[in-house]
Each structure stands twice: as structure tokens, then as C-alpha cells.
């Protein structure tokens, strides 16, 4: 323990005071103050775009704040120097890992700590230390494994080990559970508890209420760049936190029972090969009816991507038929054909497939409809109409942005998704493919996106909701199918199955019997 830390035993180990950071017209942080005590877990809670990540980047020296100070162990940190932050004992685990895939775990941990011209001595000592840290904090990972071969959860452990190896006393975790399975999250929490017991302090950035309640001692809620509230975890509950985050009570997406209409799209015994890392489909039959949300539950990687590609026009059945209004889609089934048939798509990967980051919001708003009037006539774009359309979407869907001419990449995930949602729904689609529509979004955006999908269903659209979140599927769907290893379960109407029963299907149980019956 350093003298500085001992000295700061009574005071906070970390103090942020009046941090202000502006990006052009956007005030990302507005006079935020925050203190962290020794052995404490503080959760930083807030919607997308509330300023959480900006604040942590200021703390870690990635951004220079326009105003405010950062003190670690009572000593001010110079702005804009990550190395000073590291030296002061601040460690950061980013949402997107910063590891070299082709190196081993040990090499990744040692990177940057070994002088350029040092002989390969001290490796044994370093390895012993990594192994000790890994044992002490329950961060099981083999030092000689190649990082490229590790699971996401294991990579995160390497990131934490990296910070601990550099003597971090304050660990910042940016959305650490976004990429983890529930089991991995539980293991991470156990590690964090051991760390605080050992006197470390943790800042835990998240927008998931349940896990914040589970791990944090104190919760600081950010809203639109300011501190909206600060509470001890034991003195609050999820509803109150959610209200603090969005500034009002969270509107639950209500799904009133509704009579389903005609079959708008159907898959008949469709088989599709595994392509590009996707699991294929085996004899899948599915009916999408007007005014109904059809939910697809399942563990990721069981054929959801192929199903979405088929419905969205990016793939064609190898066997079986894809029916639109009872007529089979032909060999020209494509994204364009899907759009023409009134199929709106909300892609799983909004950065990769849903939007062009370097394009403006206007350009992204017409990415699908640019070929049609009023956005173009005889090959000539009408940007005035496009801009008006984008401005309308921004207003109608509450997209927070500097304006229609701002580049899309400046938007937070939630605002990007709102624009994509607006673009999809503006075409008044008959069928809506919503693939992981709320993944990575904050509660406010989740409620918003879900209520819009329900409204579209009430308006008579057939919605196909693919989600790995069982609560979401069960809460929104009129009928549920479970997908497992490329096979689709029968349709279960709302309320006929418990989560445990669906869980058995997700694990592949019901299908085995069917196969046995067939054989």
C-alpha cells in the first residue's frame, strides 16, 4: 500500500469535481461531480448518451475536459494523460476490448510494461504474479492461451488482469456485462466482490437496473450530461432508479390481447444452409399473421441470423418455400424485393448493417427508400425532401442529435436505433422483422422501441421479434417459437408456457422427441 493511499484512507480515493465536456453543440458532461471511497462499488447508471462513457474517458485521460478536476488519492491528475491515470492506479476495462488476438494472455498483460530493449528476463516472475492475481480474484484464464481463441468472458478477465497487473486500485468497467452470459456475469460479480474486499474501488457503468442493484453500494444516475441523483443501493428499488434515469416513470410496453389477422408471410418447411458462420435452418415452418407479434426465443447462434436473413431478403431457402400473401417468393428474393413487398427490417447489427456511420442522418434516413419518390425522380435525388423526411423522423422518434446533417456516427446506440426504427416504420410496412431490436439500449430507449413495435402490431402489421432476452420475448409476443440448432418449435400462444418450459426447448429437448417420432 502506498503512502498516498494510506493518507487517503479517510477521504475518497477518487474525486471528480465539476467535469464539463462539450462536443460541438452537444454538452456531454455538464458540471459532474463524483467521489469514490476505498472498497466501494459505485454504479454509474444512465441512458445511452447520458454521458457515462464520456465522463470515464475524461477520468482516464482519453478526453481533456473543458472544465473540472480529477483527483486520485488526493492528488490532481493532469488532463489528457492516460499514462498518468494508470500510474495513479486507475485501470479501465473498455466495452470493446483492447487486446491483440494473435498474442498470448501473458503477452497481452505484459504489453507496455516491459521496456523496449529489455531481455526476456523476468517473464517467470511476471507469470507467477499473473497466476497469483488470477487465483486471488477468481479470474480463471490460462496465461499461455492465445487471446484469439478465448471466449468473450475470458477476454474480459484478461482485461481485468491487465489492469490489476498494473497495480490498479480503482477499476472502471464500462458496460462489462453487455457481452456476457448470465453465468459469466455472476462470475464477474464474484470477482468484483473479492476485489472490494481487498480494498479496491470499482466504478461500474451500466444501464441494466437489476445488476446495478446487485453489485453496487452506491448508485449515481446521469441524465443528459448531469447527475440526476445519487442513492445508496439499499435505499432504492428498480422502479425508482428507472424513473431517475428517464426523468419520469417508465412506460411499460403493454400488449393487449388482439385477434390475429391473415397470414402475411410464411415459411413452409424451409431449409437453409449454414453460411458465413451462421447456423443453418432445418425444416422450419412459421406463420406471420397481421396484428400479431411472433417471438423467436433462443440462445444466440441457433439459426436466428439465418432466419432473419431469409425474411429480410439476404438469403433464399435451399428447400421449402417462403410465402408472401400465399405466393412463393422467387429467385429474385432480395432486400429490395423484401422492401417492395412491405417487409421492414431492423437489423441486429445497427452499426454494420443498419447505418452508414459517415453518412448524415438524412442520408441514412433514405438509405432504403432513396430510389422512390419523393426522394428521387428518374435517378435524381431530391435532398430537400429527404432532409424534411429526416427532420420528421428526428422529431417523431425523439432522436437526440445535432440535426439532420450531422454524421450518424455521432449518435449513441439508442438514438441510432430510433432513427433506424423510424426509417423502417415510415414505409408503413406489413411485415416487420425486428432482430434484437433493443440489445444494448437503455431502459428509456427499450420502452420506446418496444411500444412502437406494439403500436405497429396494433395497426395491423405482422411483427417477427427475434431476441435472446426471454423476458422480452415473453412480455411482447402473442405467440412464441423457440429456435434451437436450426430447428423451430411449434407456436406457443401467450401464457401457455413457463420460462422453465421454454428453457427446456431452448436446450433442444422437445425437438429430440420429434426427431425420434419422425424416425
Amino acid at each position: 500500500m502506498t503512502a498516498g493511499a494510506a493518507e487517503a484512507r479517510d477521504g475518497p480515493v477518487l474525486r471528480l469535481d465539476g467535469i464539463t465536456k462539450r462536443f460541438g453543440p452537444l454538452l456531454a458532461n455538464d458540471g459532474i461531480s463524483l467521489a469514490l471511497a476505498r472498497g466501494e462499488v459505485v454504479a454509474l447508471l444512465g441512458e445511452n448518451g447520458a454521458g457515462k462513457t464520456t465522463l470515464m474517458n475524461v477520468l482516464f485521460g482519453h478526453y481533456t475536459p473543458d472544465a473540472g478536476t480529477v483527483e486520485v488519492m488526493g492528488r490532481a491528475l493532469p488532463h489528457g494523460h492516460p499514462r498518468a491515470a494508470i500510474a495513479a492506479g486507475v485501470g479501465m476495462v473498455h466495452q470493446h476490448f483492447t487486446l491483440a488476438d494473435n498474442l498470448t494472455v501473458l503477452d497481452n498483460i505484459l504489453i507496455g510494461t516491459v521496456p523496449l530493449l529489455a531481455p526476456r528476463l523476468g517473464r517467470a516472475a511476471a507469470r507467477a504474479r499473473v497466476e497469483a492475481l488470477s487465483r486471488d480474484f477468481g479470474l480463471a484464464v490460462h496465461p499461455d492461451a492465445r487471446v484469439g481463441a478465448l471466449s468473450v468472458g475470458e477476454r474480459q478477465r484478461v482485461e481485468i488482469l491487465k489492469a490489476l497487473y498494473r497495480d490498479a486500485r480503482i477499476l472502471i468497467l464500462d458496460e462489462p456485462t453487455a457481452v456476457l452470459t448470465p453465468q459469466e456475469s455472476e462470475a464477474l460479480f464474484a470477482t468484483l466482490r473479492r476485489m472490494v474486499a481487498d480494498g479496491l474501488s470499482v466504478i461500474f457503468i451500466s444501464h441494466k437496473l437489476a445488476e446495478v442493484m446487485a453489485i453496487a453500494d452506491r448508485i449515481v444516475v446521469l441524465r443528459q450530461g448531469r447527475v440526476a441523483g445519487e442513492v445508496a443501493a439499499r435505499d432504492t428499488d428498480r422502479a425508482r432508479l428507472a424513473a431517475m434515469m428517464v426523468g419520469a416513470a417508465v412506460p411499460e410496453a403493454r400488449v393487449a390481447p388482439r385477434e390475429a389477422g391473415a397470414v402475411l408471410m410464411a415459411l413452409e418447411d424451409v431449409t437453409a444452409p449454414a453460411e458465413g458462420g451462421r447456423t443453418g435452418l432445418r425444416g422450419v415452418s412459421l406463420e406471420l399473421r397481421a396484428g400479431r407479434i411472433t417471438g423467436i426465443a433462443g440462445v444466440s447462434g441457433n439459426g436466428q441470423a439465418t432466419l432473419a436473413a431469409l425474411v429480410g431478403g439476404l438469403a433464399r431457402p435451399a428447400a421449402g418455400r417462403l410465402l408472401l400473401d400465399g405466393r412463393a417468393a422467387g429467385a429474385d428474393w432480395s432486400p429490395r424485393a423484401a422492401l417492395a413487398a412491405g417487409v421492414a427490417r431492423i437489423p441486429e447489427d445497427r452499426h454494420g448493417a443498419g447505418a452508414v456511420g459517415d453518412f448524415t442522418l438524412t442520408e441514412n434516413a433514405v438509405l432504403e427508400a432513396y430510389r422512390d419518390p419523393p426522394f428521387s425522380r428518374r435517378g435524381w435525388m431530391d435532398w430537400r425532401r429527404a432532409r424534411a423526411f429526416a427532420a420528421g423522423l428526428i422529431a417523431d422518434y425523439d432522436v437526440r442529435c445535432p440535426g439532420p446533417e450531422a454524421p450518424m456516427r455521432l449518435l449513441s446506440g439508442g438514438n441510432m436505433q430510433k432513427l433506424i426504427l423510424g426509417r423502417a416504420l415510415a414505409a408503413r410496412p406489413r411485415v416487420i422483422l425486428a432482430n434484437q431490436p433493443v440489445r444494448g439500449l437503455d431502459v428509456g430507449a427499450i420502452a420506446y422501441v418496444q411500444s412502437r413495435l406494439v403500436a405497429a402490431r396494433d395497426g395491423g402489421a405482422a411483427v417477427l421479434l427475434i431476441s435472446e432476452d426471454l423476458d422480452e420475448v415473453m412480455g411482447l409476443s402473442d405467440v412464441i417459437h423457440v429456435i434451437s440448432a436450426g430447428r423451430l418449435s411449434p407456436a406457443f400462444p401467450r401464457g401457455t408456457m413457463t420460462p422453465a418450459e421454454l428453457g427446456l426447448w431452448m436446450a433442444g429437448h422437445g425437438f429430440g422427441e420429434e426427431d425420434a417420432d419422425a424416425a
Binding site: 493532469p78 432480395s334 454494420g352 448493417a353 443498419g354 452508414v356 435517378g379 435524381w380 435525388m381
Partner: protein, 354 residues
């Protein structure tokens, strides 16, 4: 040291930094001249006067800029869609070859009987078709079989140049050429007229300006331009949104190849009057520099091409009087490119110590 994005670069950044890049280029040039044993300031002055110091110099610079505008546009259009066309040189020679075939009557005397505007239009269009065809092969290999177009377009440069060489030593050889490998001269009717009678600037320059505006309009105002930019920025999103990505790439290739071929047409019909193996001192490759300096902006290509041409012309003039090798032009351009790329990067990012 690291970079932090600047959200809204002000006017000082956007104008001052590129200007600073030019100043630094000049300083580097002065240093080079000093190494060559000449008076640095005088050398720079001679380059400047050589490039723009007289009506003759300016016209010479604009003449030299003409093929660079075409090849610069060809590269800018292709690169914008992430189609790496390194073969503007081959497309230029393909355009020049077709121009000569029609303009000398080798492809049939009937063409020469056409009215002059029709004949010139025919030559230009045929050149465009030839250049487009040269790039069509690589782009089809790319879209169908995933063959890297950098390799195919680059190697095609040598194939086409050797093919031209073969023709110039054989069927295309000028019988009155004293044994030199050059084609017969164009018919008088097939020569591009000068913009102003008596001044050495031909209509190829006017055509280049029109092409630049046309490309700019295509990119910003048409659905095809929107598709080209979307494919270049995020092909996956473009495909997801229903854009025919491969078709867009093929159309981009046709436009790009055609533009590069116009450089060949304009050089033969406007300036040289015949086809030789030194028709282009690497205009196809210099077009890449021009396009990069212009940040792939079609109107910027005109400015960049005039600047690059000015450096070449100025260095030629300077070397005649000051005795500094003309290679200084290549060095100056390389330095200008490096400083400019750096300056443009620094308009968008600021350096933070730490």
C-alpha cells in the same frame, strides 16, 4: 502523443493548416535546392514563375493539368466506392489507342468524312468505351470471384503498355516515322481545336472541367452517386438496404475507366497528334496523388491537378535555367502530399500530449 477528434474544425484549421502544408512544402523544396547547390529562394521563385509567371506558363500548366484532371477524377470516383483502380494508366492508353485508330482513318475512312463535332464526339465516346472495357475485366473478377482489383488493374498497366508497344512496332507504325515507334498523325479534322485561337490551350481542358462538374453532380445529386458513396462507406449496410452492390461497382468501374480514357483522347487529339509510348509520363499514377490531395472531391481534383501540373511545369522551367534536376518536382509532390495528408488529418484531430 495521441489524437483527439475535433468536433467542429473552425475556418482557421480548415484553411490555415493546408496553407501551412504548402509553406512547409516550399521550405522543403528550398532545402532540396540548397543541397543541389543552387540558391534556394531563387529556385523556388523560378519554379513559381515557370508555373504561373507568364501567360505562356499558365497555359502550359493548364495543358499539363488536363490529363491529370481526367485521371484524378477516374481515381477519385473509383476510390470513393472503394474500388481501388490503380490502372488509370492502362485506361488512358486504351483511350489514346482508339482515338488514333479512328482519327487516322485506320478504323475506316468513313469516320473522317463526318462533320468535325461528330467525329470528335465519336472519338471521345469510343475512347470512353475502350477505357471502361479495360476496367470491366478486373471489376467482374472482383465481384464474381473476389480477385483483388489492386493487383489486376496494376498488372494490366504493363499488359496494355506492352500491347501498344507491339502495335507501334508493327501495324500502327508510321511509315514516315523514320523508324521511330510512333503512330501516323491524326487527320487534321480529328484534332481538338484550341479554346482561343492562337493560344496553346485546347478544348481537352474545357472537357476536363465539364467532366469534373459532371462527376460532382453525379455523386451528390443522383441515386447512382448515392449508391457509389454508400457502397464505399459501408458495403454491408448498402447491401442490407437493398442496393445492388456489385452492379454499383461495375457502373463505378465503367465511369472511372471512361474518365481515365478521356485523358488519352485529350492528349492525342488535343496536344500530341499521334500515339507514342511516352504519351503519358505516368499520368495514371499521378492521378492517384491528385485524387488523394483533393480528398476524392471531384472539384478539388481540378485544383489539385493544376497544382501538381504547376509543380511539374515550374520545375521543368527552373531546371533549364538553374541546373537543379527536374526530379525535384517528384520530391516536391511527394512532400506536398505528405504534408497535405498530415494537415488534413490535423484539421479533424488535434494532437494531445500524454
Amino acid at each position: 502523443m495521441r489524437l483527439e477528434p475535433v468536433a467542429d474544425p473552425g475556418l482557421v484549421r480548415r484553411i490555415g493548416l493546408p496553407a501551412l502544408a504548402l509553406v512547409l512544402t516550399a521550405l522543403a523544396g528550398a532545402g532540396l535546392a540548397a543541397i543541389a547547390g543552387a540558391d534556394p529562394l531563387a529556385t523556388l521563385g523560378q519554379i513559381a514563375t515557370g508555373a504561373a509567371g507568364s501567360r505562356f506558363a499558365i497555359l502550359e500548366t493548364l495543358n499539363r493539368a488536363t490529363p491529370l484532371i481526367f485521371t484524378g477524377l477516374a481515381v477519385a470516383v473509383a476510390f470513393r466506392a472503394r474500388l481501388w483502380n490503380i490502372g488509370a494508366e492502362a485506361q488512358l492508353y486504351a483511350g489514346a489507342l482508339v482515338t488514333v485508330l479512328i482519327g487516322t482513318g485506320l478504323a475506316g475512312g468513313w469516320a473522317l468524312a463526318l462533320p468535325k463535332p461528330a467525329l470528335l464526339a465519336l472519338m471521345a465516346l469510343a475512347a470512353v468505351a475502350a477505357g471502361a472495357l479495360v476496367l470491366l475485366g478486373p471489376v467482374i473478377l472482383k465481384t464474381r470471384a473476389g480477385v483483388d482489383e489492386v493487383v489486376t488493374t496494376l498488372l494490366l498497366n504493363f499488359v496494355v503498355l506492352l500491347f501498344i508497344s507491339l502495335l507501334l512496332e508493327g501495324p500502327l507504325k508510321d511509315p514516315a516515322g523514320m523508324g521511330w515507334p510512333k503512330s501516323p498523325p491524326l487527320d487534321r479534322a480529328a484534332r481538338l481545336p484550341r479554346i482561343v485561337e492562337g493560344l496553346r490551350l485546347h478544348w481537352g481542358f474545357g472537357l476536363a472541367l465539364i467532366a469534373a462538374v459532371a462527376v460532382w453532380v453525379i455523386q451528390t445529386r443522383t441515386t447512382l452517386g448515392f449508391e457509389m458513396r454508400a457502397v464505399g462507406r459501408n458495403a454491408a449496410a448498402a447491401r442490407f438496404a437493398g442496393m445492388p452492390v456489385n452492379r454499383v461497382l461495375v457502373r463505378t468501374a465503367l465511369l472511372s475507366g471512361g474518365l481515365a480514357a478521356l485523358a488519352g483522347f485529350s492528349e492525342v487529339a488535343g496536344l500530341k497528334g499521334n500515339l507514342t509510348l511516352d504519351l503519358s509520363p505516368g499520368y495514371g499514377y499521378t492521378g492517384i496523388i491528385v485524387a488523394m490531395l483533393a480528398l476524392l472531391h471531384p472539384l478539388g481534383v481540378v485544383v489539385a491537378a493544376v497544382f501538381v501540373a504547376g509543380v511539374f511545369v515550374g520545375a521543368d522551367a527552373m531546371s533549364r535555367s538553374a541546373g537543379v534536376p527536374t526530379y525535384i518536382a517528384d520530391l516536391l509532390l511527394a512532400t506536398a502530399l505528405l504534408f497535405m495528408v498530415l494537415a488534413l488529418q490535423l484539421t479533424r484531430f488535434r494532437v494531445v500530449r500524454g
